[in-house]
């Protein structure tokens, strides 16, 4: 028999499979009728002489685990082994509790696997169509929305194949949480034991948790929701509906004759049931801010949340530490960035480079912060190679071995409510164990065997014998020294000083050596034998064909040469301060708020009653404006800024912005979507916040787009760069909602697919708005009704009702005078006052009517002609509305224009002769009034928050730039500091590139040479399935950490 060590492995695999089928017959109690002869193997095992890690932090150095019928009977240093037990001598081995994979898709059909992130198209074929993605069609009593399937149970779909189970077990996993992979309410997960048997026996817990993902349709024609905020609104309404459903069913069944029968809905029934039983809800977060969004929702509905993380948790760990919600962590640390070519490196932003460097520390950072974590092998491209290497890297990065073990055992067991059965080695626990040939967390040790429910499964490594060492061979009266060294899969063998070949397969050994050593002529002798402990014996054949006997004895064990103990640079992240947001221009901490600041001798544009003061002073105390005027004194210890030559204005307020929105400016699917909230999706990482600060903007009205007549709720924020979303919200700003009229809402420019949604005309827009207001009034009446079905809370109608009750403003995108007059009429009919008319490019035509109604007008300085309804726009619009008594502002609707709203305001001076003071007010106090925040900001008047801008000169000149921008008496932007920060961040970038370069070259497998060869080795080959990493630029829905250019502005079809 000739074999190489490579084919040995293959053969071995074959044997093992055979072996497995022999032991898989279940002896557990089943309801299935027995066929044939019963197999009742005794199931008492004693795993003895092992090092037993019974739980994180608790180890028995030498002991025994006794298992009976799949349950641990006893574990300890001195367990009495019954005579009938099968004894497993595990000398030198380590036993761990079985590991739990906290998140898996094992055994689920394609329709429950995540959808491919990119359509599969052959672009070389011009006629090719994307490959159809199989989807499960909704049948029966389901939710109206295809993405709401809480009733789905992973356990009902399981169809497990041995190969994938084996792959997981080979990593040491004995249980896995199987999670359905599509939709928003995805359904409930099942906890299974990885025993090779029937599904019914495998399932430990059929319904562990409901899984909720921030999933949405990424195409406008994909159906509701098409945005993250739509998704969150749907989740919120889902929980409300579930509790209503329960109440409605109860009421109806109590008294069926007296009320209309409510719908029967499996989705709501399932969700209601799970909420009532306080089952955990696992929120699947794609990025760091979605973690926080999940916690907000959980808090709102008093859920028991768990998080499925994404690797970026460390960035927001302070916020996560507040609730200590357990997080399931994949270990998909990023690959080394492709920075070998300088021009290519330019396309990596600092935050990506930092993340590559810091991601392996994520588990350690979270554990330090007291946040429970559980690991999963999910999201790894090659778990067999990556799982343990990454877990060990995480350990080298500071995660304690106990914490790592807990993340595989006790933590997931607690999260999934099975701590009494899984996670530790103790009497009464399920007999799920991992046997390894060493410490899995700190060495290159391997998993040899897993035990699941008292059945054992060997890995490929189980049968491996280590033949290394020094042996003494005796054959034909000769004694020769045999030295075996090297790696197990690449042995280096010398017999009697001559090179020989040695291979093993389990306990079979083959030695091929020059025949002359044994004085048997030329050629080789082939010696085969069996290895048993420290001895080998067997027989062989000489070149002449004679059979010879041989034996060997190990005289010295192999001591591997200590590899260089030089710590790898990967074991530590570079020592740069962490900022929020990560990457360039992030802040390590909020800017300090000096007790008092005095700006002395500047030109101060108050936008208030004091007008513009030459050579004036501005005094700020504790973040508030204390006084404005000449000759002010600073309190002791306060700082003084010389204002000579500079101009100071109130912070600019942008009344129409789409900056800082995550994943979708529009919920453009339905015609009415006022249940969606921009406040749910504020993106604090948007670099445009910083850029606009550098243009003097301190507050902005973040608006939903204009894809529908009644759009989403807006959020007024202050540009507190470096803060988290909730900290940016403008306290007590009047809530509002975006309305829109005209071309966008009637889908004029959306293409041929969009010709059926109501409304398609301006006539229809009026009817739709009237109808919804009526609906809101009737909703109000129904809520107050005492009899019949309990009233259902409808967040959409509630929002409209708030408008009708004067508690919420309408900000209405509008162009043509006829549609504006319509809106004013409808508003009057419902006794409401429109907050602002946005764009309102024909406002100059009907300024008196607008003024009479009392609506504000927020317009562009000079934009026009980008679409038909903008063809009559004139740059005198703002001035003409203002002069007829309309409260008017000039807005940006664009992250670019927002950076120069001062000069946008200046255009009213040029085109309409407006005074400088009035022009500035178009971007300060007037928009503040429109947003009802004028008591706090918008002008430099005592008592207001100290939001102001220091300019290099006249703020209405194009030659002027911003020197400083202050919010709440804190300096959020300083051009001089910015100049320094550029250098610091650039240096950090270069340091990271230098660190990544060796790793990248390793990956390329190149020490130079032809680059064509590199290309083939690039990881993104066609077979590699793209995994959805959340934080890349140019997501069509604008994800986190964008470059600021991925949002549309006013010239786009419907985002204005």
């Amino acid at each position: 028999m000739r074999f190489s060590s490579c084919s040995a492995r293959l053969l071995c695999f074959g044997c093992l499979t055979l072996l497995l089928s022999a032991v898989t017959s279940p002896a557990q109690v089943t309801t299935a009728p027995k066929q044939g002869i019963r197999e009742n193997d005794p199931r008492l095992h004693a795993l003895t002489n092992a090092r037993i890690v019974v739980a994180p932090g608790k180890t028995i150095e030498k002991g025994t685990v006794l298992i009976r019928d799949g349950v641990i009977v006893e574990a300890g240093p001195a367990v009495k082994i019954p005579a009938e037990a099968r004894v497993w001598d595990l000398t030198g081995k380590t036993v761990y509790p079985g590991f739990i994979d906290a998140y898996s898709r094992l055994g689920l059909p394609e329709t429950l696997q995540p959808e491919p992130v990119r359509p599969d198209v052959d672009y070389d074929d011009p006629n090719a169509k994307p490959k159809e993605v199989p989807r499960e069609s909704a049948k029966g009593m389901h939710s109206w929305n295809a993405k709401v399937t809480p009733e789905r149970k992973a356990a009902d779909y399981l169809n497990l194949d041995k190969k994938s189970m084996r792959k997981l077990r080979d990593l040491g996993f004995t249980s896995a949480l199987v999670v359905p992979g599509r939709g928003i309410f995805r359904g409930s997960s099942a906890l299974i034991d990885l025993q090779e048997t029937d599904v019914a026996t495998m399932v430990l817990v059929p319904s562990v948790a409901q899984h909720i993902a921030f999933d949405f349709n990424r195409r406008d024609d994909g159906g509701y929701p098409t945005s993250l905020m739509g998704c969150i609104a749907l989740i919120r309404q889902g929980f409300l509906d579930a509790s209503w459903y329960q109440a409605a069913q109860d009421a109806y069944h109590k008294n069926p004759g007296t009320m209309e029968r409510p719908e029967t809905n499996a989705s709501l029934a399932a969700l209601a049931d799970q909420t009532q039983r306080k089952q955990p809800m696992v929120f699947e977060a794609d990025d760091e801010l979605e973690l926080l969004r999940a916690l907000r929702i959980s808090d709102e509905f008093k859920l028991k949340p768990l998080l499925y993380g994404n690797g970026y948790e460390y960035r927001v760990r302070k916020a996560l530490a507040a609730t200590k919600t357990p997080i399931i962590l994949p270990l998909d640390f990023p690959k080394p960035p492709e920075i070998e070519r300088p021009e290519q490196a330019l396309e990596y932003e600092l935050d990506e480079l930092q993340h590559w460097d810091r991601a392996p520390s994520n588990p350690a950072r979270l554990t330090e912060a007291g946040i429970p974590i559980a690991f999963t092998a999910e999201k790894l491209e090659k778990p067999e190679k990556e799982f343990w290497s990454r877990l060990r890297l995480a350990v080298r990065r500071g995660l304690s071995k106990d914490a790592a073990l807990a993340a595989l055992t006790t933590t997931p067991a607690e999260m999934f409510g099975v701590a009494d059965r899984l996670g530790t080695i103790a009497p009464g626990r399920v007999a799920n164990l991992v046997i390894a040939n060493g410490d899995l967390f700190s060495s290159e040790a391997k998993v040899l065997t897993t035990w699941v429910d008292g059945y054992y499964y060997d890995t490929d490594s189980a049968g491996e014998r280590d033949p290394r060492g020094t042996w003494e061979i005796t054959s034909e009266g000769k004694t020769l020294p045999l030295i075996v060294e090297g790696e197990l899969d690449k042995l280096d063998t010398k017999l009697g000083g001559e090179k020989a070949t040695l291979s093993t397969k389990e306990d079979a050994i083959l030695l091929i050596a020059p025949a002359k050593l044994f004085e048997k002529g030329d050629g080789s002798v082939r010696l085969s034998g069996r290895i048993a402990g420290e001895a080998i014996s067997g027989s062989g054949e000489t070149p002449a064909g004679t059979i010879i006997r041989w034996s060997a004895k190990r005289t010295a064990v192999y001591t591997p040469k200590k590899p260089d103990e030089k710590p790898s640079p990967l074991d530590k992240p570079l020592d740069f301060p962490e900022t929020y947001p990560a990457g360039s221009f992030g802040r390590a901490m909020p800017p300090e708020q000096p007790h008092s600041v005095l700006i002395q001798g500047a030109t101060i544009w108050t936008s208030g009653a004091q007008g513009t003061i030459q050579n004036g002073d501005l005094l700020v105390i504790d973040g508030k404006i204390a006084a404005v005027g000449p000759g002010l004194k600073v309190p002791a210890g306060g700082s003084v800024i010389d204002g000579k030559g500079v101009h100071v204005t109130p912070g600019i307020v942008d009344c129409h912005s789409h900056t800082a929105i995550s994943k979708g400016v529009n919920e453009g699917s339905h015609a009415v979507t006022c249940e969606v909230r921009i406040g749910d999706v504020i993106d604090a990482t948007d670099i445009d916040i910083y850029r606009e600060l550098a243009g003097g903007v301190t507050a902005a009205n973040i608006l939903h787009g204009s894809a529908n007549p009644i759009g989403g709720q807006n959020q007024v924020i202050k540009f507190r760069w470096g803060a988290l979303p909730e900290e940016m919200k403008f306290a007590d700003a009047m809530p509002g909602v975006k309305f829109a009229l005209g071309e966008n809402v009637k889908q004029s420019n959306w293409g041929d697919k969009f010709k059926t949604r109501y409304p398609q005309t301006r006539m229809g827009v009026e009817q739709l708005i009237r109808d919804r207001f009526r609906a809101a009034l009737e909703y109000d009446a129904a809520q107050k009704k005492k009899d019949g079905l309990p009233p259902r809370r409808d967040l959409q109608l509630e929002t409209l009702l708030e408008i009708l009750n004067g508690k919420r403003l309408i900000h209405c995108h509008s162009y043509r005078q006829d549609e504006v007059l319509m809106l004013l009429r409808v508003a009057t009919e419902f006794k409401i006052k429109i907050g602002t008319l946005q764009h309102i490019l024909e406002g100059y035509k009907i300024a008196d009517e607008i003024a009479k109604h009392g609506a504000g007008g927020s317009t562009f300085a000079d934009w026009w002609a980008y679409k038909w309804e903008a063809f009559d726009a004139i740059p005198d619009n703002a001035a003409m509305m203002q002069s007829r008594g309309v409260l008017t502002s000039v807005n940006s609707d664009s992250a670019d224009l927002a950076r120069r709203l001062n000069t946008e305001a200046g255009k009213s001076m040029k085109y309409a002769g407006m005074s400088a003071d009035e022009a500035l007010k178009l971007v300060t106090i007037y928009p503040a009034r429109q947003l009802h925040i004028e008591a706090k900001t918008g002008s430099l008047e005592p008592g207001k928050e100290a939001d102001f801008v220091v300019w290099s000169g006249n703020p209405l000149s194009n030659y002027t730039y911003v020197k400083q921008t202050w919010i709440d008496g804190r300096k959020y932007f300083d051009r001089a500091e910015d100049m320094e920060a550029r250098k610091t961040f650039a240096a950090q970038r270069e340091a990271l590139i230098q660190k990544a370069l060796p790793e990248r070259l390793k990956e390329l497998g190149a020490a130079g040479g032809k680059e064509g060869d590199w290309k083939d080795k690039k990881p993104e080959d066609k077979d590699a399935k793209p995994t959805a990493h959340p934080q890349h630029r140019a997501d069509e829905r604008g994800s986190l950490y964008g470059n600021g250019n991925n949002r549309d502005n006013c010239t786009e079809e419907y985002d204005d």
């Binding site: 990119r118 935050d351 000079d862 194009n958």
Partner: protein, 445 residues
């Protein structure tokens, strides 16, 4: 259809205006500004501060022009006989501003497809010419010129070889009358070489790379084929079959037609420069977001840059917030020839009037003021091959100038008069007429 709208009474204006709106819905429309007749007699503007741009300012100077050309300029020069003398005391006179990268005349309303003629189908269209589809009655033109933009290059968009541009005066009855130079340049758009690594990107990294390689190969192939065609034509081979595309590239090889290459990133600019060197062609770079990173290469190859949109958002998160604002200053400091232009996209066409503010913004971020002025007058004239006729106030050049009450690059300066080839043009536009119409509405109240 010709509509006269220079009637002072409000009523007929309104009637005509509404008639006009109706007419607009059909397939023809016209701005109401009437081109003035050719300059009939010499004109003298005196008393103003003259900013020749090519030389020092002349306080309280005089400028004389006749038959459309500047004949004299100076502090005190004789008044020609029969000249119309206009007192411009306290005013400022500048050359007309030049927009070096626009689609003026090729588009009206972006969202109304019927009004847009900027991009031919296919990627190799060197033969299409902007000059053939300029609409002299576009309402966008009077709006641009009322802020001092008196000359503009209209550039076809799209594909790889987008076509031939034309330098236009912002006045004339027909496209021919408007044309200063056509073709002005051949426009090559370097394919985007930035890989979108977002897994949700429409195409995989590999497919994107393939597209890029394909597109760059197409550039090389096209020019090599065109060069063979050019040589074959020159040598007069018998039985030669014509090809409009390669025919159109012949003047490029002759050196008669400049080649403008639109490219933005380091990778694109590097590739374009390397290709141009290999193809032995001199190029003008348009766009050039990253040009400031490559001033050495640009200077070495004497490649000038038309900075397209100095107010754009930075293209990368790591870029400094003022990276576009300061592009011009950085090129200037490095000694790279440049001019400032708008982005040339369809969406920018109605806003060409903001060109002067791009220049002053560049000045706020380091470009000397006089350079800012040159960057929208003399420099674009030079880069567009009309430096001998336009861009500065010099004897022999066209009398294309503006009279202002201050710095045209800043607010609230008004353009009080404008001359194109000595003809005083009407500075009203659709917007001023709408303003006047509705002012009348409120006046009556």
């Amino acid at each position: 259809m010709t509509i006269r709208l220079h009637d002072d009474s409000a009523l007929p204006r309104r009637i005509v205006a509404s008639f006009f709106l109706l007419a607009f819905l059909g397939n023809s429309h016209a701005s109401d500004n009437i081109p003035p007749p050719p300059q009939a007699k010499p004109i003298v503007l005196k008393g103003a501060t003259i900013h020749p741009v090519s030389g020092p300012d002349i306080p309280s100077g005089m400028i004389v022009f006749d038959k459309g050309k500047i004949t004299a300029i100076g502090p005190n020069i004789p008044t020609p006989e029969g000249a119309e003398v206009i007192d411009a005391s306290g005013k400022h006179i500048y050359p007309g501003l030049i927009s070096a990268n626009s689609v003026l005349g090729l588009t009206e309303i972006g969202a109304a497809r019927a009004t847009v003629d900027i991009e031919e189908s296919g990627s190799i269209n060197p033969n299409v010419r902007a000059a053939t589809s300029i609409n002299p009655d576009s309402e966008l033109i009077p709006v641009a010129r009322s802020n001092g933009i008196l000359t503009a290059q209209a550039v076809p968009e799209g594909g790889i070889l987008s076509g031939q541009s034309a330098v236009l005066r912002m006045d004339g009855w027909t496209p021919d009358e408007m044309t200063v130079r056509s073709p002005a340049a051949m426009h090559l758009r370097w394919p985007n070489l930035t890989i979108n690594r977002n897994p949700r990107a429409q195409k995989s990294v590999k497919d994107q790379q393939k597209d890029m390689d394909k597109a760059q190969k197409l550039i090389r192939d096209s020019f090599q084929t065109a060069r063979s065609y050019w040589q074959a034509r020159k040598s007069g081979i018998h039985g030669f079959k014509s090809d409009l595309r390669w025919e159109a590239l012949m003047p490029v090889f002759d050196g008669a037609l400049p080649l403008f290459v639109h490219a933005d990133t380091v990778a694109e600019i590097e590739a374009a420069l390397a290709w141009a060197k290999d193809a032995q062609l001199k190029i003008v770079l348009v766009g050039g977001h990253d040009a400031w990173r490559m001033t050495t290469q640009l200077k070495e190859s004497d490649t000038p840059v038309i900075i397209a949109l100095s107010t754009a958002l930075p293209s990368r998160r790591d870029d400094s917030y003022d990276s576009s604002f300061s592009d011009a200053a950085r090129l200037h400091e490095a000694g790279v020839r440049f001019c400032i232009a708008t982005n040339g996209r369809e969406s920018g066409a109605p806003h060409e009037r903001n060109l002067p503010y791009e220049a002053s913004m560049a000045s706020a971020f380091g470009l000397p003021k006089e350079e800012a002025l040159k960057s929208v007058t003399l420099y674009p004239a030079q880069l567009l091959g009309v430096g001998d006729q336009l861009g500065s106030l010099e004897v022999g050049k066209a009398a294309t100038l503006i009279v202002t009450n201050g710095d045209p690059l800043d607010f609230p300066t008004q353009i009080e008069a404008a001359y194109i080839d000595g003809r005083k043009i009407d500075l009203t536009n659709r917007q001023t007429r709408l303003r006047d119409k509705y002012k009348e509405k409120y006046r009556r109240k």
